[in-house]
Symmetry: C2
Subunit: 109 residues, 2 copies
DNA sequence: AAATAGTACTAGGTATTGCATAGTACTATT
DNA sequence: AATAGTACTATGCAATACCTAGTACTATTT
């Protein structure tokens, strides 16, 4: 049983919640999101973030615009949509319920 | 984007943490575990729990014994091993870190 | 006694997503 | 021109929650 693997499994479903929340506060491009997550020691790689952003965009939760960069290739800035905000609210509720349940079950004597 | 699907994804990696914690408190057989989880509104089905218990057993984190039942088929009671207790400690730490990170990233203004 | 219901466990296949990897492209620096 | 840093796209894999089908045991009903 591999701890790193279990941690990766734990991240499934949670990352989109984090991404939507971050973008609700401020638009950003992929690398900024990766950096923001890394600051909280949520290490996420490109192979994860790009497909995730694309899925959220395809589902209408995000939208984006291109912006030339003065120091490298152009960047794709993502913004949350009103639908994305609604969904984020649902995810917030689900997360609260999940953590409450888990903490109840795992409280050590 | 399907909320139910996202909730199922969120459960990945978390269920083994819950199961280990429950079994640390008291040995149990599958249906008891399902009931315990259901009380906390963590709905888990047989197709999930049995393979999960088998995986944990194969990795040495659980052990089991058969017990005849007076009201139906025999039951497989699972118990946590010392290795399982160690791993549970690691999972506890991982969970704390993950929730802290997520809450930091998703705190609404 | 046979059929049905409730209960417990096993096995196989599917969908989804984080991750690894390969590749393209833009700009700055060497 | 080559290299480095940066940003994005595409593809395939591993793992796990879940769905479904099936076997088996005991109690209850027909």
């Amino acid at each position: 049983m591999n701890l790193e693997n279990t941690k990766a499994q734990m991240r499934k479903g949670i990352l989109e919640y984090c991404i939507l929340a971050m973008l609700k506060q401020q638009e950003a491009y992929a690398s900024e999101l990766i950096r923001g997550l890394k600051e909280q020691r949520l290490l996420v790689v490109e192979g994860t973030i790009y497909p995730l952003l694309t899925r959220l965009k395809n589902d209408g939760l995000l939208t984006y615009r291109w912006e030339e960069s003065t120091s490298g290739p152009p960047r794709k800035y993502y913004m949350i949509t009103p639908l994305g905000r609604d969904f984020l609210g649902e995810l917030h509720k689900s997360w609260q319920e999940l953590t409450a349940a888990v903490n109840e079950l795992t409280t050590l004597d």
